[in-house]
Subunit: 350 residues, 4 copies
């Protein structure tokens, strides 16, 4: 039997990093991952607040201060970055130079176009290196054809944003089939659980602020907009995206509104989705009139898609659900790892 | 000092009826309301499960089986119906014939156009009486001009639906100013707390089904669509409305998408809203870029409105919040009563 | 008509201070309160995150940096301190010297016995002044006889802790009647909503930490233990108190276990409670076998009491519920103000 | 490799049955289970409302009307009953007669003593058969010595109640070590998520009744009391148990109060727990002063135990947490199956 892969997770004390650590610990092809954090002190992951669905580990597992030498000494081949984008932007050049393969869960390397990167305000020490890496980075949404082809040989996989995954997977089949009236505009009204806002305690994530409440935020200005536009080849005025904060720990539901450019019926829509995702393990199409709900995909790596067609056969609503920490982050990162090493896409995710 | 008005509430054991009973019990112009239910047995309201925000009354208050004679004996002048629409449809003809004034919280009398009523499947004993009452019924949204003029003298006020109130109040100023590109379509993505689904225990309202979950329902088929179309004078293809179920007890937030028919700036939008609701006590306009959240209006009779304008000056998002049991039901019913009897719109609602 | 009282609230941006500001703004005997905070910058209370049940105020109201001169210029007679105990401990000596009357919502002045104060670690600039004020301070639980007698003339009222209020009110009648077997121990297993933990965002108050969770904390070490022991004249080994954190915004339920020193029946227990609270406006006794629930008292100033007696007529469980921000903090502070100025205990609280 | 075991689940549309179906479908030693319900109509489990943590199955799985012949035709060896106790009481005699082995998740066969069974009101068709089966039934709590010895050869395993599991596992080590002052009384103040109340929609499980609320129920009268008394060999006055309903979907936390009959220190308590559960896979002892929280054990088969000792070295509080649907029901049922067939206790549960 082949030797197991040695991985490391930097940022293992955040929600996505913790979820990733749990997935890798159970993955049949990998050793227990090395866990790192940017802070100078070592903490026991067993003492970290857990999130629903992740049992406290039975023995403790150290999350240690990050160092390149520790990676080398332990023979790490694949490094996951569950870090803020500025940290990923800073570390990836050296990591690639050291011959590591990388799955980066931040927004640092997802965008090809400068106009979309501006919102992140990256400060690169070498503009040329950054440009080269931007070119080489592969957007890690394996259900889309060009990505699926490039992931196996990629040195740097830019794992997609959680909202972006839910929206791109819903729209790609219809845009690919050229049945959308883009001039009338596409709208995604998206709702996310609180773990999407990160583990940092803030006034906005305080229980009393969230419970019994619901609110829109970052209207016309959310960072994921850029990657959605790029992947779907849309222009800014064609696409409107409104994120909202749900009083639940995890899960995303996007309600997506499109106008068709010709009259279609339910079977045609269903075929369009089914054909596009034929053989894709982690997308489920709900037969009309059933619709996905957040509970169905939480704690799984599925992106669930369903739809409703108006009686005018022109107005279409797609409902897309996923777990923001799995298909929207750590699960998709493992799915990308599986493809990078030639394993079955589902390994360690069932 | 003038004698206090005697009111009665039929359906006082439901959420809206209970909320109404509490408001009327504290109203400075009304006696303690008589409380009725359609069932044959008397229950103590003190034993009814309370909803958040409604303290258990100190001392019990009987909710008795309904009878016309009890209304007469107690000198009831105004009858509130917090009943299913079929019950309201059945009782209102006799109530009007007996000289009672009525505020009906159901959907029974809100719709003037037959095509919109079809979804309710009304079965009237006298089609002619029903037609006459339909004609006489006044839609009880007092912030709209024609309604405000007719409510004071109305015998039958059809209290608006909760979703409808949140949507109509958001859109009326812009449609009235004729700045909306109706051809591109108007979308309301609306989210409601569970009390909007009624007190009947069902698989859908079970705690385990709702908590940690979020789902769309009645897509392209919600009953409130008709009254929104009628009040805003829209055609069906111009308006899309998707309700969702939020894991919170009460509150509605509607995220409403419109395309403007000319470029506008933030000040123009704000003026449009401010001017339309000048002097209106129960609508609050949030200055951009602040947006209402459900917590701000819950347990109040306010409808809160805010908006965001895209940098293209064409795409506009309006966020509208209210408490589905107050401005969306019982509070608005009291507001209508105040106008019917010439009192200040805010009496008993602060 | 008498002139209205001018009050001020220091700490008006915390949960209790905000609730107090709302109550005072509506109180028929007081002017709008002056709102202060210890920080140097002025904020608009309208921009502060609201808590469920507190509507956003319609115009803004400034919360200004605190100064003694502002109190004097505005003729403030009564100062509410909704501040950390160290701040209250520091400010009260000067406030009393300036002739102000004070209701302090912190734990600074509740304790007469040094052994119970130790846990707070007070640092007084003048030990003698602190000792004198400790002597003069009146524990503001108006349902207990000695307090009720002293509050009207008190210069300094130490408003009780939220847990303490729920527990003392449950036990006082039985201990007063000397029917409790204190040797077998009294246990209060208490559960509180998250607003009791304050508005500071921490890992512990993060939505994801609280939702879908439940936990005990400060076992055998909660600060409120001292005031419970003092008010009920219990020794430490006789009383065990375990606080827990509930995934709800507000409300406390204490399940209290006592062994009776003789066999009693349900009627005797009920009489014991009813007699003790005869004429007390803000305590409700639930007739057996009905029990209070958190929903019944939230958003009210009531403390609700119910009980169950075992078939051995010896084991008694008392369930005590209240809203930690009202009867457990701001509501009780207003109740104390009412008594300090000779008004009806219920003014501004209904 | 050995042939896989064929199992069946009756009651597969309830919460415990659904959870069990998911566990068995993934178990390495069993075929996909046959799923049955008592109703005459077949439903697709994929259409059943899911609970958090249970993804919708990919592809539907029929839950068919129950018949003995279907069991026989499919070679079922082990039958799980996730049925109401009356149904289990009725079916088990025939199942045993047919040579099936049974794990019953209801309360039908847990109790040896008539006085404890009375509360269930069993109606047996043959009193003699019922008495024989009562004698043969093994209480399925494998961490207790006598049970562990008998489970491997048992024909009928009575799977413990969820509350009972959390309480018995916490108290067994201390009672076994005879360090508890039983005369002073043992108290368990227990709190459960709503799935423990079953899937039937009732006024009590309605979202609006549960959310933002907390309440005690079945005080001095909960059915699990009998099995706790029997397993721990306690008399009724020695043990007080109060269940409460938490506004969360799943999880139990019991706060258990005991008085020690001699002074002990923290290390002695910890050793007492550690020694008792040495080698037991599914009990975790938290080192003092850390305490388990519901989040740590939810979605796992662990029972987590922690404790606090008062400074008087006499008062001890044990906190016990588990997932009511796993270690409290379906997980423990699989653990029992593992022991019945000589497999590792952890198979299919990690």
């Amino acid at each position: 039997m082949a030797a197991r892969l040695q991985t490391a997770v930097l940022g293992a004390s955040g929600y996505s990093g913790l979820e990733l650590a749990h997935l890798l610990a159970r993955h049949p092809r990998t050793n227990a991952p090395l866990l790192f954090r940017r802070s100078a002190e070592t903490v026991e992951s067993a003492l970290l607040p857990s999130i629903p669905g992740n049992g406290k580990t039975n023995g403790s597992r150290a999350v240690r201060p990050f160092s390149w030498s520790a990676l080398k000494e332990n023979g790490v081949d694949l490094l996951f970055l569950a870090t803020p984008h500025a940290v990923s932007r800073e570390l990836v050049p050296e990591a690639v130079a050291r011959g590591l393969r990388i799955v980066d869960l931040s927004g640092a390397w997802r965008l090809k176009q400068e106009e979309h990167r501006a919102i992140y305000g990256f400060k690169d020490s070498s503009a040329q290196t950054a440009a080269e890496l931007t070119e080489r980075a592969v957007y890690g949404l394996p259900e889309l054809k060009p990505n699926a082809d490039q992931i196996p040989s990629a040195a740097l996989v830019a794992n997609p944003g959680c909202y972006a995954t839910s929206i791109i997977l819903a729209l790609a089949p219809l845009l690919s089939a050229a049945v959308v009236d883009r001039d009338r505009g596409i709208i995604s009204d998206s709702k996310s659980g609180v773990s999407g806002a990160g583990k940092e305690p803030t006034a906005r994530t305080h229980f009393v602020s969230v419970a019994d409440n619901f609110s829109a935020y970052s209207v016309f200005g959310h960072r994921h907009t850029g990657e959605i536009l790029e992947q779907l080849e849309l222009t800014s005025p064609e696409f409107t995206f409104t994120p909202h904060l749900l009083p639940i720990p995890r899960g995303i539901l996007s309600t997506i509104y499109v106008y068709l450019n010709r009259e279609m019926n339910v079977d045609e829509i269903e075929s369009c989705l089914q054909d596009f995702y034929k053989g894709k393990r982690w997308v489920r199409i709900f037969p009309a009139p059933s619709l996905p709900e957040i509970q169905f995909s939480v704690h799984t790596n599925y992106c669930d898609l369903g739809f409703c067609l108006a009686s005018d056969h022109r107005r279409l609503i797609i409902v897309s659900c996923l777990d923001n920490l799995l298909k929207g982050a750590a699960g998709q990162a493992v799915q990308n790892m599986n493809l990078m090493y030639g394993w079955d896409e589902a390994e360690g995710l069932e």
